[in-house]
Each structure stands twice: as structure tokens, then as C-alpha cells.
């Protein structure tokens, strides 16, 4: 009955042995078990190699101890061509039958974690080290979880007994000891943003925020957040959120409190027919940049300096002046970026559909900054 995972290569096995030989209490209130992950919409890393998994299907955030917390100080660039075909072969299927849902770089070990979904909806979690792709076992691992509070849907079912509640976790992040989760509802046109203390607590001490988007000209609208990151601007922490309808908006983190309605400041509109995919903050020579990948646009680079410079002008969101204005941004010669995460201060891991059709995972160099 003993199960042998041949994907756990000998080396990894040794590391596991070394870890399990010492009995120690599970970190962060985790218990050993097998999390029932039904889908993986988003990945992010918390502290010490804890992987946060946003599961839209079960409206739950899982925190998994990957035990992959050995610091890597000399990160080598990763380049895997046709990664979808390689992953498909490892899963015994065609590239057409899988989709890569998200990637996240473990900030400690610098290993890349990749969420894949097969055509039948089965979620798969993989780890990429150099050019080696292996499975991450989710059986008998330390984990904790938190069900997102989607109370109204309880008894809304269709004739077949299916839930009619349509929702998705659009992004997940971690900052200052809190798991940040943005959610989209298929029904209402608004945004929920949750800031959940980690380790998870029983009392679900979470903030649920509805965010107003002070749009250009004179129309104020609600809108759902597609992706976000956090950044420090002039010593103050901000949530930098990008929207499904009109992109870049800043929210002071200290205003995001339970039950409050926070007005965001639009700093840029970045084009039509487009949905932002990922945002990361990187820096070079003391200057920091916001990098943003898009569904129908190249990767944008925005200087945080330019965002800072807008600080004063945007405190009155209805001013006509910014109906057409906005923070300047540069379009990089990098298109069709499907996923993106930060590798270190100045480099990013990029999953890109090249013009020859190949889906490649590669490491950006400083020259893009």
C-alpha cells in the first residue's frame, strides 16, 4: 500500500528525510493532511516557503508548507523553451489539453512554482528548478486553509442543484503578515478585496472591502480588481491595483479596514480591450518600477517616481486634468506575456508565447529596466 512518488527525485527525497527526521511542531498553525484543492487560480508566497493557493472553485485560500526554504543566493537564469509541451509530456497528454494558470517564485529558494490545469479541470502543482520540472505532492503535508466568506450564495441553486454563484479569485498576494485576495463576482459589478491575517485564525478576522474607482472626468464607477501588488511610495504603503476596465489605481494600505469603502486614485489608463494579468515591483540603481503584463498589450513599465509625482494632482479625483492625462509608461518590446513574477530585485520570470508559437519560460535581465 505504500505509495512511491517517483517524481520526488532522490535529492528531494534526501531533503525530505532530513526534514522529517526531526519532529517539530507545524509552523503557522498548520496540520498535516491532504488539502482538497479543487482549482488553482492564483499562487503567492508567504513567509518561509509557505505557498498560498487561491482556489476559486471552493472559494478557499490554502497555505501549504513547501519545506522549500533554503536560501538561494546565486540564482541562475531559467530558460525552458516549449514549456507547455514539456509539462504536457510529463502529464501524459497534449499541450492543447493543459493550461498554465499561474507562476510564483519562492522568494527564499528562488524555485518557480507553477499551477497547471488539465482539460478536465484537474489542478496540478509543479516546481521548476533550473530545467527540471517536478510535481509538488499535496498529500500528507502541513497546511492550513481559510474559506472565503461568500455567504449570500448558500441557497442559490439552479434546477439541477448546481450553485449559481459565479465567482473567481482574481489575484492573491502577501504583504506585512497579511494574505491579500481580490475577488471577482460574476453577478455584481464590483470588487471585493480581503486582507486576511496570517497565520489564519478561527474567527476569520478578515476585511471585506468594496472599492470605488474614481474614474476620469465626472463618472464614478465601481469596478473589479484584476491584479494587484503592493509598493511603498514616499514612505507610505500602497495597494497598486489594476482593473478589468481601466487600469492603474492606488489605495493607501492603512485605509483598507474592515467594512470601509475606500476611494482609489487612478494614475493611468492603459488601453482598451485589454485585461492586465500580472504586476510586480522591481528596481535598478535605486529606482523602482512597476512592471505590468497584459492580455492584449506588451509589458508596461511605469516608474514609481512618476507615480509619486502624481501624488498631489490626483487628490481630487474629478479634476478634468487627468481625464486624458496619466502617468507615463513605456511599452517594452515583450508581447504576449501570459504570466510574470519577480525573481529578485531586478529580474523577472516570464512566461511568454513567442511569435513562433512557442511558449517559453525565461528570465528577464536588468536591461529591461
Amino acid at each position: 500500500m505504500k505509495k512511491v512518488y517517483f517524481l520526488l527525485a532522490a535529492l528531494a527525497g534526501l531533503v525530505f528525510l532530513a526534514n522529517t527526521s526531526r519532529v517539530r511542531p507545524a509552523k503557522y498553525g498548520m496540520a498535516v493532511g491532504t488539502p482538497e484543492i479543487r482549482s488553482i487560480s492564483g499562487l503567492a508566497f508567504g513567509p518561509d516557503g509557505v505557498l498560498l493557493v487561491g482556489d476559486s472553485k471552493s472559494a478557499t485560500v490554502f497555505a501549504i508548507d513547501t519545506k522549500d526554504a533554503t536560501a538561494n543566493v546565486s540564482t541562475q537564469p531559467v530558460e525552458i523553451k516549449n514549456i507547455d509541451q514539456k509539462i504536457a509530456a510529463l502529464l501524459g497528454t497534449d499541450a492543447a489539453n493543459i493550461s498554465i494558470q499561474d507562476i510564483a517564485v519562492n522568494p527564499v529558494s528562488k524555485n518557480i512554482y507553477c499551477a497547471v490545469q488539465s482539460a478536465d479541470g484537474t489542478p496540478v502543482l509543479l516546481k521548476i528548478t533550473g530545467d527540471k520540472i517536478e510535481a509538488v505532492s499535496t498529500k500528507n503535508i502541513p497546511f492550513s486553509s481559510l474559506a472565503l466568506n461568500n455567504a449570500p450564495a448558500e441557497d442559490a441553486k439552479d434546477k439541477r442543484g448546481n450553485s449559481v454563484r459565479v465567482a473567481a479569485i482574481s489575484d492573491i498576494g502577501f504583504a506585512d503578515g497579511k494574505v491579500l485576495v481580490s475577488g471577482l463576482s460574476g453577478q455584481e459589478f464590483n470588487s471585493t478585496f480581503r486582507s486576511i491575517p496570517f497565520p489564519f485564525t478561527n474567527k476569520q478576522d478578515q476585511s471585506t472591502l468594496e472599492i470605488y474607482h474614481a474614474a476620469h472626468g465626472k463618472y464614478e464607477t465601481l469596478a473589479p480588481i484584476r491584479t494587484f501588488t503592493t509598493a511603498e511610495i514616499k514612505g507610505k504603503k500602497y495597494l497598486v491595483a489594476s482593473y478589468t476596465c481601466t487600469p492603474l489605481v492606488l489605495f493607501p494600505m492603512d485605509e483598507l479596514k474592515p467594512g470601509t469603502h475606500v476611494k482609489g486614485r487612478t494614475v493611468a489608463e492603459m488601453g482598451s480591450g485589454n485585461s492586465p494579468i500580472d504586476m510586480v515591483t522591481v528596481s535598478k540603481g535605486g529606482e523602482s518600477f512597476l512592471m505590468m503584463s497584459n492580455s492584449a498589450r506588451p509589458v508596461f513599465k511605469v516608474k514609481y517616481k512618476s507615480i509619486e509625482a502624481y501624488q498631489g494632482a490626483l487628490t481630487t479625483p474629478v479634476e478634468e486634468s487627468f481625464a486624458t492625462a496619466g502617468v507615463d509608461f513605456v511599452s517594452l518590446p515583450v508581447t504576449n506575456v501570459i504570466q510574470m513574477d519577480k525573481l529578485d530585485d531586478s529580474r523577472m520570470i516570464i512566461l511568454q508565447r513567442r511569435s513562433n508559437g512557442s511558449l517559453d519560460l525565461w528570465t528577464s535581465s536588468e536591461r529591461y529596466l
Binding site: 517517483f6 488601453g271 492580455s295
Partner: protein, 362 residues
């Protein structure tokens, strides 16, 4: 007659056993669950003499025909009947696989195409009316089977005047907006193009214009989670009318109260179509003491009306219908805030309370 009919069947059965080649005991069996090949059993004869702790290094399963065979990720389990291999995702229909022991092919198997079962169908498209506001915001597609995700942009088109496909009409969202069962998908017409004065709206205009014929076309090529294509292509045709920029007004609705000691439906007429997805969630009926009345909501034709049928007979008395302010019409205007709120004009409430409608049962 009955006995006679049995004889050929029995003969066939005997022959089936007798005619089996000796190697049949060594054949690789596919293990099925819900129509999926979730594992294979490799007979002991094929993987004999392999120490349990070396299985993962000596036995591999790979897609047939690979020059450099790549072992499929999965787990092995030693059973009495042989070695059970469970890949991380089920084997794919129509594909051939090899089993290799010590780098030598010892057998193979094919996972047959799925010819059984019914093709998935679109069972409803909401809004169901055939005249819709030009600033329509959402479309709900209901399927009778869980569908494959991530493909809506490829398989759903908005076609104008039976000729032109409108590019970028729907918002490209990943992940898409599905219910947990993957049978209901929400599509948004690009809100950036609907909202007045936003850049997409200024540059490209609204996705739809009034007085025009449109069609939502769903390709038959869309597959469900089992890999089966839709039974046919589906269309929904509609004509656009003027923009709707006003919030729904419950005070204008009409209620037809039921009669006491019956299970008659409470009928609510909204006078305009409202959002199908929200109609199932936002209403609560309470009696005079504030107790919730349990029952079923049914949404009427074109989402203009809904009916509430109580589980128990109505008792005479006063009742109220509570309506959550997040209820929207087809253009995303909710009870307290239009989709586009002109903040230079009015001081409309932006945070709403539960709206109430009262009725009496006699």
C-alpha cells in the same frame, strides 16, 4: 425459446475464456472512474523482480512514439493484482502509451475515444429577452455539463448585422467567471468600453449601438470537461434598444399577493428585465414578526417577473419582501447606484439599505 436464446450467449462466453491468449494475464488494464482513465494496472509478470523502493526509477509510463521517453508524473502502488500507476491527471482519450521497465518497452495501451454519453448542450442564455439595452453588461451561459475552462474568448463571438464579428466585445478574463460546478459562465461586455469617458469608450466607442441586430454565437468546437464537443453551435439573436442609465425602482414594481391557506405564488412584476444571476439571490420574504418564509423563487419570462412559492401554506397577515441593494438591471445599474454615476450632478446615496416591499395575505 428463452433457453435457446441463452445457448449462443453461453457459447460465446466459453469461447471468450478459451480463446484468450496466454499473455492476457499480462495485459495492462485501464482503470476507469466517471468515464476517465484514472490509472493502469501493470500485471506482476511485466514488472516482476523490481524491489519496491526502486519502482520509480525502473518503471516508467510514457506517451508512445517519443524519441526520448519522458516518464509521466504519478504514483505507484503495489497491489496483489499488480502494480497500480495513477498519473497526476487522467490518461487522455485517443492517446497511446508505453510501459517501460529498465528502459525497455514491456507493453502498451490505448485509451479509447469517448464515444459514449451525450454531447454537452447550452440549456439557457440570459438575458433571455430579444430586445436588450445597448449598454448590456453581462451575459450568462448555462450548460448541462461541466465545461472546459479558459476557452470562452476562442469560442464565443458577438456578431453585428449577421456579418461583422466585433473584436474585443467581451472582456478577456483569466480565470473566467464560472460557478463551482463549471456549468454557468458569466461574460462581461467590456466595461471599459461601456463606461462613458473612459479611454476605451472614447477610442473605440461602446461595443454595441442601439437599433442594431446582434447575435451571440457559440462554436460547436467548445468541449466539456470530458473532452466532448457541444451538440451543435448555439446562437442568441437580439436587437438593441436605448441605453438604460437608471437604477431599478422597487417602489414602481407591482405585487400580486397570494391568498391565505394556499401555496399560491407571490408575483412580483419589475416592469423591466433584471439580472438573472442576482434575481436568485437578493430576495427574502418575511412575515410580520420578521421570520423568514422558506420557499422557492421562480424567474419569469424575460426576467421581468418573479414568483415566490412558499413551502407551507400562506397564513393571513402582513408580510414584506426584502431586496438587497446589489440587485442590478441588464446594464449593471443597481438599486442605489447607476453603473455610470455622474458625480457632478447629484448626491445620490452610494451605500444602500435593504429595500422593502409590503403586502398582505388575506
Amino acid at each position: 425459446m428463452v433457453r435457446l436464446a441463452y445457448i449462443p450467449g453461453l457459447t460465446f462466453f466459453v469461447c471468450l475464456i478459451a480463446c484468450l491468449p496466454e499473455s492476457a494475464n499480462q495485459s495492462i488494464d485501464i482503470q476507469w472512474k466517471n468515464g476517465q482513465a484514472f490509472a493502469i494496472r501493470i500485471p506482476g509478470a511485466l514488472a516482476a523482480d523490481i524491489p519496491e523502493d526502486s519502482i520509480f526509477s525502473l518503471v516508467t509510463v510514457n506517451i508512445a512514439g517519443q524519441q526520448n521517453p519522458v516518464g509521466i508524473l504519478g504514483s505507484f502502488e503495489q497491489k496483489e493484482s499488480g502494480l497500480l500507476f495513477t498519473p497526476m491527471i487522467p490518461f487522455t482519450r485517443g492517446m497511446h502509451y508505453d510501459v517501460r521497465v529498465r528502459d525497455t518497452r514491456v507493453g502498451g495501451f490505448e485509451v479509447p475515444e469517448n464515444n459514449a454519453g451525450n454531447a454537452p448542450r447550452v440549456i439557457a442564455i440570459y438575458p433571455s429577452a430579444d430586445t436588450l439595452p445597448e449598454n448590456l453588461l453581462k451575459i450568462y451561459l448555462h450548460f448541462n455539463q461541466p465545461m472546459r475552462e479558459g476557452l470562452s474568448a476562442k469560442y464565443i463571438k458577438l456578431i453585428k448585422n449577421k456579418r461583422d464579428t466585433i473584436d474585443g466585445a467581451f472582456l478577456d478574463l483569466q480565470p473566467e467567471l464560472w460557478n463551482p460546478e463549471r456549468t454557468v459562465l458569466t461574460l462581461w461586455l467590456d466595461p471599459g468600453r461601456i463606461k462613458r469617458d473612459l479611454q476605451p469608450n472614447k477610442r473605440l466607442g461602446a461595443p454595441m449601438q442601439r437599433g442594431t441586430h446582434y447575435e451571440i454565437a457559440i462554436s460547436q468546437a467548445w468541449t466539456d470537461a470530458r473532452g466532448k464537443r457541444l451538440a451543435k453551435a448555439y446562437q442568441k439573436a437580439f436587437v438593441t434598444i436605448a441605453k438604460d442609465s437608471l437604477s431599478p425602482q422597487p417602489s414602481q414594481w407591482t405585487l400580486v399577493p397570494p391568498t391565505a391557506a394556499t401555496k399560491q405564488a407571490l408575483k412580483i412584476d419589475f416592469k423591466e428585465p433584471l439580472d438573472h444571476g442576482l434575481l436568485q439571490e437578493v430576495f427574502t420574504v418575511q412575515d410580520g414578526a420578521g421570520e423568514k418564509i422558506s420557499g422557492q423563487w421562480q424567474i419569469g419570462k424575460a426576467e421581468i417577473q418573479c414568483h415566490f412559492i412558499p413551502d407551507a401554506n400562506w397564513k393571513a397577515g402582513s408580510y414584506k419582501v426584502l431586496i438587497e441593494p446589489r440587485l442590478e438591471d441588464l446594464a449593471g445599474n443597481n438599486l442605489v447606484r447607476p453603473f455610470d454615476r455622474d458625480i457632478t450632478k447629484t448626491s445620490e446615496a452610494v451605500t444602500g439599505e435593504i429595500a422593502l416591499l409590503h403586502f398582505n395575505v388575506k
